[in-house]
C-alpha cells in the first residue's frame, strides 16, 4: 500500500452542492471508470478509465482554433469546423485548451489526494452546518481503490463525513477495507435475474449480491439504491426479488428508488456514442409509488428520488 500523498487517480468531476448523494450538503467526487456497462448509464463520460473528449456543438463559434492545433488534422483547413474527434484522436487536449468557447472539453484528469481534498475542504462550512460531507461516486469509485482509500482516510483526518456510491462490483477485500472509513454506502442494486444483469450491465450480479450481504453484515450504514428503468427492472418480479433479498439481510432497511431520467442522452451525443436507451420515458410517478409499496411490504423504508 503506497502512502497516501503519492496516490493519484483519474477524476472527471467534482460537484459541489450535491444534495441527493447522502445527507446534508455534500461535494461529490466522481472517479472515472466503471467495470459495468449499464445501458441506462446517465454518466456515460464516467465509464471509460481514461480521459475522453466531449464536444458541445451549440457552443462552437466556428473559429477553427481546434483544427489549427490538432496533431491528427495537421492544420488542414476544414470547413465547416467538425464537431467530432479526428480519427486516431489521442485525447491530447490541445483542441480543448485552444477552444475559446469551451465547445471542446477533456473529461477526466489525473488528480492526487491533496488536489481533491483542496476542493472538498472548501465547503466544510456547509458540511458543518448541514451534516453533509464528501461523497465518492463514479464511474465506480472502488475501481480506483488506492485513491478512494486515501481520500476516505484524508476525509476522516479532517472530520469530513464520507459516503461511497458504488455498484458493488468490486473485490470483497477492497469493499470491506473502505468500509472502515466510510460513514454511509449508497449501494446500487439493479437486477435480480443474473442473465438479464449480464445483458444490461455486461457482468453477472453474483459479486454485487454477495458483496452486499458481506458489507451489510459488518457496516451499519448502507442504503440500497434501485434505479427504476422502465422495461428493464421495473416489473413486479424483479422488485419482489430485490425486496426479498434486501429484507433477508440483517441491518438493511433503507431503499431509495432512482427513477430513470433522460438527461444523459445529450451526453452520449457529445461523446459521439450511441445511446441505447434513446427515447425511453421516465417511469410514471404512480408506478414508482406502486414499487415503493411493494418494497415496503418487505418491511423496508423506501424513499423515491435521491
Amino acid at each position: 500500500m503506497p502512502t497516501a500523498p503519492t496516490v493519484t487517480g483519474t477524476i472527471f468531476s467534482i460537484m459541489r452542492f450535491a444534495v441527493n448523494d447522502g445527507p446534508g450538503i455534500r461535494t461529490t467526487v466522481f472517479l472515472k471508470g466503471c467495470p459495468l456497462d449499464c445501458w441506462w448509464c446517465h454518466n456515460p463520460e464516467s465509464q471509460a478509465y481514461g480521459p475522453e473528449l466531449q464536444i458541445w456543438p451549440d457552443r462552437c463559434i466556428g473559429c477553427g482554433a481546434c483544427i489549427k492545433v490538432c496533431p491528427q488534422r495537421s492544420g488542414v483547413e476544414t470547413n465547416p469546423v467538425p464537431h467530432t474527434s479526428p480519427p486516431g484522436c489521442t485525447v491530447c487536449g490541445l483542441c480543448a485548451a485552444a477552444c475559446p468557447a469551451k465547445a471542446r472539453e477533456v473529461i477526466g484528469w489525473r488528480a492526487g489526494v491533496e488536489d481533491v481534498m483542496g476542493e472538498v475542504a472548501r465547503d466544510t462550512v456547509f458540511y458543518d452546518e448541514s451534516g453533509g460531507g464528501a461523497t465518492f461516486s463514479g464511474g465506480e469509485p472502488l475501481a480506483q481503490p488506492e485513491l478512494l482509500l486515501a481520500l476516505l482516510k484524508a476525509c476522516r483526518a479532517r472530520g469530513i463525513d464520507t459516503c461511497v456510491d458504488t455498484c458493488g462490483h468490486a473485490p470483497r477485500e477492497t469493499l470491506l477495507e473502505t468500509a472502515a472509513y466510510t460513514d454511509l454506502f449508497l449501494y446500487d442494486l439493479k437486477l435480480m435475474d443474473p442473465e438479464r444483469h449480464v445483458h444490461y450491465t455486461g457482468a453477472s450480479n453474483r459479486l454485487v449480491l454477495d458483496n452486499l450481504a458481506a458489507l451489510s453484515a459488518v457496516h451499519p450504514g448502507v442504503t440500497v439504491r434501485i434505479p427504476v428503468i422502465p422495461g428493464v427492472n421495473d416489473a413486479d418480479e424483479n422488485i419482489r426479488g430485490a425486496g426479498e433479498f434486501i429484507a433477508g439481510l440483517k441491518g438493511l432497511r433503507d431503499v431509495t428508488l432512482l427513477p430513470y431520467h433522460g438527461t444523459g442522452a445529450a451526453k452520449y451525443a457529445r461523446l459521439g456514442r450511441p445511446c441505447r436507451m434513446e427515447g425511453l420515458e421516465p417511469p410514471p410517478p404512480a408506478r414508482l409509488e406502486e414499487i415503493a409499496r411493494l418494497l415496503e411490504g418487505y418491511g423496508l423504508r423506501v424513499q423515491i428520488g435521491g
Binding site: F17, V19, I25, T28, V125, E129, S130
Partner: protein
C-alpha cells in the same frame, strides 16, 4: 388566510391605478405664495401644518387602519419644492410603458398655470444643478455616479421604539423644555435651536390635529352607518385616532395606527423616497399583543387582520413619480419600506416572538410588493423561524429577504455606535444598515466602478463621448503589471470620489438651509434634545453612503487583463482596448476567451476573488471615514437597485467579455452566468469580502423551484443561509423561478401580470421591469440540484 374585508381591500389596492395627485402641489403652492416671514424650519413646519389641515381625509369602506398620503389609494402626491415636473415630464409619466402615472388634463393644466410658474427655478433640483461644478455635471452626465437628492430629499432612516413610549404631546413637551432651557448668552446656536424647536412644536401639533381630523371623519361616517358592526368599528377608529399619536399607544390597534400616522407625516413632509418603516415591528408590537390576549381585548385572528390592513396601507403608496436618471437608477413603484422581523433584542437575546410568526403569516398571505419584508437572522434565533421564512421564499416572489443580524451589529459597532443602539438597528431600503430611530443614513448616489476602469484604460477619456473626463492616469501601452492597472484605477476612483463628495457637501448644505424636516426630527433621536434638524446633523449618528455598483464585473475585467495580458501574454493591453472599443467586432474568439478562459468571481476561485477583495478595498479606502458636512462620516455599501442596467447602458465593452451597453453585475453577485460552480461556490466567493466594512451588501441567488422542494429543500436553503452568515455575509435574497417561466412572461405579459421577482433589494412585477432588466434577471445563473 384573509378575511373577506382584507381580500376586498387588498384587491382594491392591487386594482388601483397609480396616478398623479396635484392636491399637495396645489396646497403647498398656495401656502408659499403667502407664507409668513419666519425662519426656514418654522416656515416648513407651517407648510406641513397647512398640508395636514387641508388635505382630504380618506377612510375607505371597511378600513380599520386609516389615512392616505394622497386623497385616495395610489393617488400619489408630487413635491414641487424638491422636483418640479415639467409638462414634458408629466406627459412622459402619463405615457411611458413602464411605471406610468396617470396625469389628468386638469392636473396638467394646474401644473401649467400654478405649479410650474411658481416653482421653476426654486425647486431643490433646480438649485442643485445650478450649484454643481462643471466636473460634477460632466461626471453625472457620463454616468459615473448618480445623485439621490436631485429629486428626492434625504430621508433614509427607520423608526425605533420612541413612538410607543411617547405620544406627540410628550415629544412636544420635550421640545418646549428644550426651548425653555436655551441659553442665548452662552450658546451661539441658541437662535437656530429656537427656530428648530418651535418648528418641531408646530409639527407635533399638526400631526395630532391631522389624526383628529380622521377621528372626526370616522364619527361622521359612523353617524350615517346603518350596519351595527361597521358602526362600532368606525367608533373604534374615532377613539383610536383621538388618542394616537397624541398619546403613546396602549393597544395593538393603536400601535399600528400611531405608526401609520407617523409614516404619513414623514412622507408628506418631504419625499424621503425610501426606507422609512417601523423597523422591528414584531418587537414593537409584542407587548401590545400579549397584553391584548391577556385582557381579552385581542385575538390572534384580530391581530392578523389588523396587520393585514396595515400591510395594504403600504401598498397604497407608490413611490412618487421619478424622472430622468433617478427613474433609470430606481425604476419601480416600490417605496422601499422594508419591515424587519427577528434578530435580537436590546439586551442581545433572541428577538423572535409570537408576533414574528404572525407577521410571516401576513407576508405569506398578502403577497404584496409593499411593504417589503426581511428576516434578521441571528445565531440565537431558532431554525424554525428561518424555515418558516424559507417556506415563503420558496414560493418564488422574492420576499422576505434574509439578513445576518449578528454581522449587522458588527458593522454598526465598527462605525462607532453604542452596543445597545447597534442591537436595536437593522436593515432598510434594499440592504442598508442603520441604527433604528437614531441615525440618518443617507444614500448619496451610485458609483459606476466599471466605468472608472474604462476611464483608466483610456487615460481618463470617456470612449463613449471622446471627452477627457478624469485625470490622465497614464497610457496603458506603458503598463507592465497589474499594479499599474490598479494604480490608474485608484487614480480615477479617488478623483471622482472627491468630485462626488464635494458635490454632496454643497447639496447637504442646501438641504440644511432650505429643507428642514421638523416632523421627521421629532421621531429621530437626538434631534429634539439637540434642537437640531434631521437634515442638519440632528440625528445621533449621521452617515453618508456611496454605493458601489458592478463589483463582479470589475473583478472579471481585472482578472481578464491579468490572465491574458500579463500572465499568458496572448495579447497586449492596447490590443485589448482596441477590441473593446470596437465592441469585439470580428474578435468573437477573443471575447469568448475572456468569458471562458478567465478565472471569474463567484466560483470560489482564490485568484479571482483576491482581485475582488483588492477592488473592494480600493473603493472602501477611497470613501470610508471621510467627513460629511453634518458632523457625520462617509461609508460604503454595495447595492444597485436598477442602476446596474443604467450604468451598463453608458459603459462600453470591457475585458470581462461583456458587450457594450449591456447591464453590469448587480450588488456583490457574480456577473450573470459567470458563476458555474454552484451556490456554495458563490457564497464562498462572496464571503471573502469583508462585509463588516460596509453598511450593506446585496447578494442575489436564483434557484430552480425543484431545488427547494420538500422538507429537504427547506433544510438546504436554511443551511446555505446559515453557512453564508457564518462567513459574515450581510444579506442574501432569492429568486425561485425557471428561466422558461420568465421567457414565457416576456412573450405573453398579460398572462403573467402577477409574476413577482426579486430585482435587487426589492421585489417587483416582472412585467413592470424594463426589457433590459428582464433579460438581466433571466441571464442570472440558475442553480439546480444535482
Amino acid at each position: 388566510m384573509m378575511t373577506e374585508r382584507v381580500k376586498r381591500l387588498r384587491q382594491e389596492s392591487l386594482d388601483a391605478v397609480p396616478r398623479v395627485s396635484t392636491e399637495r402641489a396645489e396646497l403647498l403652492t398656495a401656502f408659499w405664495r403667502s407664507a409668513p416671514d419666519a425662519a426656514a424650519p418654522v416656515r416648513r413646519a407651517m407648510a406641513f401644518r397647512f398640508l395636514l389641515e387641508n388635505k382630504a381625509i380618506h377612510i375607505g369602506p371597511g378600513e380599520l387602519i386609516v389615512g392616505e398620503r394622497g386623497p385616495a389609494p395610489k393617488a400619489t402626491p408630487t413635491y414641487p419644492e424638491l422636483c418640479c415636473h415639467s409638462l414634458e415630464d408629466l406627459d412622459i409619466l402619463n405615457s411611458r410603458p413602464k411605471i406610468p402615472f396617470a396625469v389628468s388634463a386638469e392636473a396638467r393644466e394646474l401644473y401649467r398655470e400654478e405649479v410650474i410658474p411658481f416653482w421653476r427655478g426654486r425647486s431643490m433640483r433646480d438649485m442643485i444643478f445650478a450649484s454643481m461644478s462643471e466636473e460634477w455635471l460632466a461626471a453625472y452626465e457620463a454616468g459615473i455616479f448618480t445623485e439621490f437628492m436631485e429629486q428626492r430629499a434625504p430621508g433614509h432612516t427607520v423608526l425605533g421604539d420612541k413612538i410607543y413610549r411617547q405620544g406627540f404631546l410628550d415629544i412636544r413637551r420635550d421640545a418646549e423644555t428644550g426651548l425653555a432651557a436655551l441659553d442665548f448668552a452662552a450658546d451661539p446656536d441658541a437662535g437656530a435651536k429656537k427656530a428648530e424647536l418651535e418648528a418641531m412644536c408646530i409639527a407635533a401639533e399638526a400631526i395630532i390635529a391631522y389624526a383628529r381630523r380622521h377621528a372626526g371623519k370616522a364619527r361622521e361616517l359612523a353617524a350615517a352607518e346603518t350596519n351595527p358592526v361597521r358602526h362600532s368599528e368606525l367608533a373604534e377608529i374615532a377613539r383610536v385616532c383621538e388618542r394616537v399619536p397624541a398619546h403613546a399607544p396602549e393597544t395593538f390597534w393603536e400601535a399600528l395606527q400611531a405608526y401609520w400616522f407617523v409614516h404619513l407625516g414623514v412622507i408628506t413632509e418631504l419625499n424621503t423616497w425610501d426606507s422609512f418603516n417601523p423597523g422591528r415591528l414584531d418587537q414593537h408590537l409584542f407587548p401590545y399583543y400579549r397584553q391584548g390576549l391577556a385582557d381579552g381585548t385581542l385575538t390572534p385572528e384580530k391581530a392578523r387582520e389588523l396587520l393585514q390592513c396595515f400591510w395594504i396601507k403600504f401598498n397604497n403608496q407608490p413611490a412618487p413619480p421619478k424622472v430622468g436618471v433617478t427613474a433609470a437608477e430606481s425604476g419601480t413603484y416600490t417605496d422601499f419600506a422594508n419591515i424587519n422581523t427577528g434578530g435580537m433584542r436590546a439586551d442581545g437575546s433572541d428577538g423572535v416572538n409570537e408576533v414574528t410568526y404572525l407577521i410571516l403569516d401576513v407576508i405569506d398571505a398578502m403577497r404584496l410588493l409593499q411593504p417589503s419584508s426581511n428576516i434578521q437572522v441571528s445565531k440565537k434565533n431558532p431554525d424554525a423561524f428561518v424555515k418558516r421564512a424559507c417556506r415563503i421564499i420558496r414560493q418564488g416572489w422574492g420576499q422576505p429577504s434574509v439578513f445576518n443580524a449578528d454581522e449587522v451589529v458588527m458593522e454598526l459597532l465598527r462605525q462607532g455606535k453604542a452596543l445597545e443602539d447597534a442591537r436595536c438597528g437593522g436593515t432598510s431600503g434594499c440592504v442598508e444598515t442603520g441604527a433604528f430611530g437614531k441615525e440618518s443614513y443617507i444614500l448619496t448616489g451610485y458609483l459606476n466602478l466599471v466605468k472608472l476602469l474604462e476611464l483608466a484604460l483610456h487615460d481618463g477619456v470617456d470612449p463613449r463621448t471622446g471627452r477627457q473626463l478624469g485625470p490622465r492616469t497614464g497610457d496603458p501601452a506603458a503598463w507592465t503589471s497589474m499594479d499599474d492597472v490598479l494604480r490608474a484605477f485608484r487614480g480615477q476612483l479617488q478623483h471622482f470620489i472627491d468630485v462626488k463628495i464635494q458635490g454632496n457637501g454643497v447639496i447637504e448644505r442646501l438641504y440644511a438651509a432650505h429643507m428642514p424636516a421638523p416632523f421627521l426630527s421629532l421621531v429621530i433621536d437626538d434631534c429634539v434634545a439637540r434642537g437640531r434638524d434631521y437634515n442638519d446633523g440632528g440625528a445621533r449618528y449621521d452617515t453618508s453612503y456611496i454605493q458601489g455598483v458592478g463589483l463582479g464585473s470589475l473583478t472579471d475585467c481585472l482578472s481578464g487583463i491579468r490572465q491574458h495580458v500579463f500572465e499568458r501574454r496572448t495579447l497586449t493591453l492596447p490590443e485589448l482596448v482596441e477590441a473593446m472599443d470596437a465592441d469585439f467586432a470580428n474578435r468573437e474568439p477573443l471575447r469568448q476567451t475572456l468569458l471562458n478562459h478567465t478565472p471569474r468571481y463567484g466560483n470560489d476561485d482564490d485568484a479571482a476573488d483576491a482581485l475582488m477583495v483588492q477592488a473592494f478595498r480600493a473603493f472602501f479606502e477611497a470613501v470610508d471615514g471621510r467627513p460629511n458636512t453634518r458632523g457625520g462620516t462617509y461609508r460604503i455599501n454595495m447595492l444597485p437597485t436598477t442602476c446596474h442596467v443604467y450604468f451598463g447602458s453608458v459603459t462600453g465593452a470591457m475585458p470581462d467579455g461583456r458587450r457594450a451597453w449591456q447591464p453590469l453585475s448587480e450588488g456583490i453577485s457574480p456577473v450573470q452566468g459567470a458563476d458555474r460552480r454552484g451556490p456554495t461556490a458563490v457564497i464562498r466567493s462572496a464571503g471573502k469580502l469583508d462585509h463588516v466594512l460596509t453598511g450593506g451588501t446585496l447578494l442575489n441567488m436564483k434557484f430552480t423551484p425543484q431545488v427547494l422542494e420538500g422538507d429537504r429543500g427547506i433544510a438546504n436553503l436554511t443551511h446555505l443561509i446559515r453557512a453564508y452568515f457564518r462567513l459574515d455575509g450581510h444579506h442574501v435574497q432569492f429568486n425561485v423561478v425557471k428561466a422558461e417561466t420568465l421567457r414565457a412572461a416576456q412573450r405573453d405579459p398579460e398572462k403573467h401580470r402577477d409574476l413577482i421577482v426579486r430585482v435587487a433589494g426589492y421585489s417587483d412585477y416582472f412585467c413592470d421591469l424594463s426589457p433590459a432588466l428582464q433579460d438581466e434577471i433571466i441571464a442570472r445563473t440558475e442553480h439546480a440540484a444535482l
